[in-house]
Subunit: 301 residues, 2 copies
C-alpha cells in the first residue's frame, strides 16, 4: 500500500476509527478498534493508536495525525480547550498538539466547542458540522446530529451561532437497561407505526412522556403490550420530546441530519412528516470531510 | 416475649420488614432483612420469611401473616391479582392465600390496585393509603407517596378514584449512576437553595429539564458547578416536573404526603411553598395501619 500523506482519527468514547489519507484526500485504508476513550488511561492512548495505525507508518518519516472527539476531553489523552461559539466549526487555529514517544507521528487534536449561555459543549460533532459545511458551503439553517447526546446547531454564514444538546439516546439506553421498563422492552425490529404515533403525539404535547413513562410498564402488565411496541413508543416519546423542544431550530428552515446510526432515519422521517425541509448525510462522510479541513489548514498554517 | 396474634409483612423489591402484633394491634417486635422480592426465586420466599419470623412462631399454632407489596407481583412469591379502581384501597375481600410448607403460618397477600385508563398499577402503596385513611377517616383530597415510583392518588369518600405514577426517583437514580451526569453529581448533603430554585422554576416551566439536563454536565465543565449543587438541581428539576404534572391532584386541595424517606420532606416543603395544604405521615405508620385493616377484616370475614 502507498503510505498515507496524513491520518485522520475519529476517537469517541466507545470506538477508535482511523483513516489513511493521500495527498488528494483519498482514503487509502480505514481501520477500527474498540479502544474508545472511555476505556483508556492517558498513558494508554499512544499505544492504542499505534496498534491500529502502525502498518501505515514509515521509519524516519513523521506522519501527521488529526484526531477529533472525546480524545480531547479532560479525561481523554490530552485536554484540547473548547472554542466558544459563535465560530466556524473547524478552525485552522487552535489544534492542540500532543507529545508522543514515537517520532513517526505528530498528533494534533481538534478542539470541541462551548457555549456559555445556556452552558453547553460538544466534542467531535463540530468536525462533522464543519465537514458538512465544506461539502455544502452555502448552507444556512439547522444541523441535527442524533445520538447518545443529540446536538442541534444553528448555522449562519458558515458559523455555528448556537447549539443545544439533548440526552435523548442516553435516556433511552439507561431506561431500557436499568429501569423497571427493562422488563417490558426489547431491541428487535422497530414497530414503526407505534414509533411515529408516539413521536408525533409527543411533538404536539411534549409533557406527555412525564406521565406516560410508567404507563409503558402498566400497559405491558394489564394489556399485554408487546415489547417491540413498548420500545417503539418509548423511543417515539423521547425523540418527539426532543423535536418539540428543538422546533426553533428546524421549523420553516432547511435542516440537515447527520446520520451516525439508523435512528437518524427516524429523525429525518419524523421531521419530514412535520413539514421540515430535510437533507441527510452520513456521519463518516462528514467526519472525514471535517478532518480534511484540519489537515489542509494545518499544512497551510 | 408474648407470642403475636398476627404478623404483618411489608415486602418490597429491596427489603423485607415484619411486625409481630398483639390482639390490641400493638407491635411487640419488628425485624428487617434484605431478602427483598427482587432477590428471590418463588421457592425462596417461604424460607426467607421463616428465617425472619421463626422466633415469633409456636409449634402447634397457626399464626396469620398479612403481606403487602411486590411479594404479590407476577415475579414475586405468588401473584395477587390487581383490584381495579375506583375502590377502597384495602379490602376485607380479595386477599390472596399462599400455600406454605410450614403449618405454623397462614400467609395472605394484599392485592395491588390497577387503573385501565390511563393504564397504571400500584403494589404496597394501597396498603399505606388505606392505613392513612384508617387514621384520618374523613380525609378527602390527594395523597402523595414520593419514592422510586412516586404515586399520586385522588381520595373521595374513602375510595381511590384515580391515581398516577411518576418515575421520578428511578430517573434520578439511573441518571446519577449510569448517565454522563454521574461525573458531575454526588450524594452528600443537599444544596437546599439550589433544590428549591430548580423545583419552583420547573413547576412554572415543566419542559425546562428536557433542554437543561445536559447543561448540568456542561456547567460542571465550564463553570465548575459543584457536585452538590448539580445533584440538587437535578433532583429539583425532576421533582418540579412531577409536581407540575400532578397539579390537578394538589392544587387547592388537602394533600397528604406519606413519607418513606427524607426526600418526602422536600416534596412537602415544595408543595407548601406552592400554597398546598399539607399533612405528613410516615410510611411505616401508614403501612402498619393498613395491614391492621387486612388482619381485622380477615378475622371478621
Amino acid at each position: 500500500m502507498t503510505m498515507p500523506d496524513w491520518i485522520g482519527v475519529d476517537w469517541g468514547i466507545s470506538n477508535l476509527r482511523a483513516f489513511a489519507v493521500d495527498t488528494e484526500g483519498k482514503v487509502l485504508d480505514a481501520r477500527t478498534s474498540d479502544s474508545g476513550m472511555g476505556t483508556l488511561q492517558p498513558s494508554e492512548f499512544e499505544p492504542a493508536l499505534l496498534e491500529l495505525i502502525d502498518p501505515w507508518l514509515s521509519a524516519g518519516r513523521e506522519t501527521p495525525v488529526y484526531a477529533c472527539g472525546m480524545v480531547g476531553a479532560r479525561q481523554g489523552w490530552f485536554e484540547a480547550a473548547y472554542r466558544p461559539v459563535p465560530c466556524r466549526p473547524v478552525s485552522e487555529r487552535g489544534l492542540t498538539e500532543v507529545r508522543t514517544a514515537d517520532p513517526r507521528i505528530r498528533v494534533r487534536i481538534l478542539p470541541g466547542l462551548s457555549q456559555s449561555d445556556p452552558p453547553d459543549v460538544m466534542r467531535g460533532e463540530e468536525t462533522q458540522i464543519g465537514g458538512f459545511l465544506a461539502i455544502h458551503p452555502e448552507f444556512n439553517g439547522a444541523i441535527c446530529l442524533p445520538g447518545t447526546h443529540s446536538k442541534w446547531a444553528n448555522i449562519a454564514d458558515g458559523e455555528i451561532s448556537a447549539f443545544q444538546t439533548f440526552m435523548t439516546g442516553e435516556l433511552f439506553s439507561i431506561l431500557s437497561k436499568h429501569s423497571i421498563l427493562r422488563h417490558c422492552l426489547c431491541d428487535t425490529e422497530l414497530d414503526r407505526a407505534a414509533f411515529f404515533d408516539a413521536a408525533l403525539t409527543t411533538v404536539a404535547s411534549p409533557l406527555r412522556p412525564v406521565t406516560e413513562l410508567f404507563g409503558l410498564r402498566a400497559a405491558s402488565l394489564l394489556e399485554d403490550c408487546e415489547p417491540d411496541t413498548a420500545s417503539a413508543r418509548l423511543s417515539g416519546m423521547l425523540i418527539g420530546q426532543e423535536l418539540a423542544l428543538a422546533r426553533p431550530y428546524w421549523d420553516g428552515r432547511r435542516t440537515a441530519v447527520i446520520a451516525a446510526s439508523q435512528i437518524a432515519d427516524l429523525y429525518a422521517e419524523t421531521l419530514a412528516k412535520l413539514g421540515a425541509d430535510i437533507l441527510q448525510v452520513t456521519a463518516p462522510e462528514a467526519t472525514l470531510s471535517g478532518l480534511k479541513i484540519a489537515a489542509g489548514h494545518a499544512k497551510a498554517a
